[in-house]
Symmetry: C3
Amino acid sequence: MKIITLLTDFGSFYPAQMKGVILSQLAKKAQDITFVDIAHDIPPQDVRAGAFALLSSARYFPPGTIHICVVDPGVGTKRLGLVVESGGQLFVGPDNGLLMPAAKSLGTPGNPLQAYKIGPLEDLSLSHGFPVPSPASNTFHGRDVFAPVAALLALGQSPAGIGPRVRPKDLNFTEAKKTDWGFEATVIYVDRFGNLILNMRTVPEFQLSLLGIKLRRVATYAQARRIEPLITLGSHGFAEIAVNDGNAAEAFCLKAGDRVELEEI
Amino acid sequence: MKIITLLTDFGSFYPAQMKGVILSQLAKKAQDITFVDIAHDIPPQDVRAGAFALLSSARYFPPGTIHICVVDPGVGTKRLGLVVESGGQLFVGPDNGLLMPAAKSLGTPGNPLQAYKIGPLEDLSLSHGFPVPSPASNTFHGRDVFAPVAALLALGQSPAGIGPRVRPKDLNFTEAKKTDWGFEATVIYVDRFGNLILNMRTVPEFQLSLLGIKLRRVATYAQARRIEPLITLGSHGFAEIAVNDGNAAEAFCLKAGDRVELEEI
Amino acid sequence: MKIITLLTDFGSFYPAQMKGVILSQLAKKAQDITFVDIAHDIPPQDVRAGAFALLSSARYFPPGTIHICVVDPGVGTKRLGLVVESGGQLFVGPDNGLLMPAAKSLGTPGNPLQAYKIGPLEDLSLSHGFPVPSPASNTFHGRDVFAPVAALLALGQSPAGIGPRVRPKDLNFTEAKKTDWGFEATVIYVDRFGNLILNMRTVPEFQLSLLGIKLRRVATYAQARRIEPLITLGSHGFAEIAVNDGNAAEAFCLKAGDRVELEEI
């Protein structure tokens, strides 16, 4: 059983086309597949939000998993396509940093990630006998490039055979900055509960406020009173501002990408 | 082939983490799995709406199905985690009533549901050799408790081996109340068409109105005129107020949890 | 491995009931299944938008795929249910045109599509020994008619055995009309990026404007400047109006079904 996950900002029906492309290749070889959709509602073109969702999720999958990840503002430009191998898992997507936080988190000093550039699809196609759209769409490499490459990998192709090794573009979730009055942080993701996930890997020991409103430091939402704003270390390992039984994004009028100033009080 | 369904209020990417945890366990034993997402857009923390969606859906699945259900305002408190067995199906989730309407609907007088408390995960872990996050997250038992338990069940663990029998907390979809003028009911779910699903298992024989507007009693939407408000017995077995070719939730400004007074006219 | 796709306007939890019905039949015969959700967020009752999503997606699936498609304003009326066979794929759904653009696109002059009317389910049920809800719901044929029929087909039933051949209702994505000043077109779909997909299979060679705003003709979004309105041939083969790094549906206040006048400038 091969596991392929998908993470995109595509919404509906485009991800199904990617699955169709993969199934068409694998059906011929009777290779079973289990698809897992990580997310298709990443805010459009928000590479950092996509990278966060992938970083949070990849570690829970077993070795051998192939992740196809497409948040790709540069589609149709000269940006490279990549296969990245790390910790026994494979990541396929654009070379814009999307894959990097997850891939780096799975690597070890003795066994760091390896990145390979996806070469001309026509060449891969010739050597593996699978059909390739000609020309590939200028707007949908998820279906016309990354899905066929993932199918090849699922059928046993080694990443090194996909193309030459390259140094991929990096992406840093910059740690929130300590300032004179507290922290300057960025909202990297807003989840369905309106919780604001920050680029901070710890919750400071001292009392913080946001926009003049005290944030209660808690270990679990239920320790706060109803409608009380709080800050906690989320299950993903990042600090998160929430409102118990409420919606912090609405209460503070904040969205992914916004800067926040956390004051020490 | 083992079937595992998921029903949560998590939105995207957290459910994928639960699937990753399960696949990581099952991959080792070459146990195939078919995941079915029932819903991940239950209104946040709305246990009753989640219980309705589960009640409506569970009966269509075959014996042996495992349902992981997480709408869990009490996560991180002392509330128990449960495995409930009923009608040959298994339900895993918090002890807040979420599982009960579905589980009760599958039981029979001679073979009622059985509920088991999920014991300390460390103990389960020792006896089954699967890794358990230590400590379990205070905010995401879906991934750190319920998913590992579901994996154990999928691998053949008996529910009785998960923990001691307990009496679970119940949840009643209170039947709408007959009043002097008609019915007092509650909207338990609003579906994607804006149909208002009520806590009534029958549609009364007499003519009803809502907010002064007559609701046509029909057997099928198409029996109403365009934009005509109607009441019908939905395919889920509950009364439902709809607007033919329109959106009743918008027309009446109602949402899940709202009380409605249906007047006999 | 059998592939079954689902395309509906149902939102959540109703599609899971359809999968449960299918799994209940297939589990008995140990027939493996791979479900692919094409979309469940088709605008409510928008048959044309559903037909577009299906047309765009079906070609990527391998022969033998079964597509269950339900956008069904006429449920509960005398409209027929259909099984359509084309290009080795099968389509199951209402006879309202939804299936036709996709089915026609897969047929060839020598091997055109064949359509079969779904007969009384009681008869099918008797001959195949599967249980059928009695009576079938008046509001949810997706679960009570189309899902059981798809299960039968997945188990090897020939489409011709489902019912007599019929001539299905057609649906044309009328090509945009050439007018004195340019084109009169219709928005058939708005994707998650706010891109407006038009009923035009080519992008005219000359310069166009919409509401007085020039649309840059490009081969890829990245050729436009930031926030520049553009027109391009989308990966689905239809003309699409977009705003680079923006949202055309919001910028032009347009939605699926709206008419647009494209002026030659």
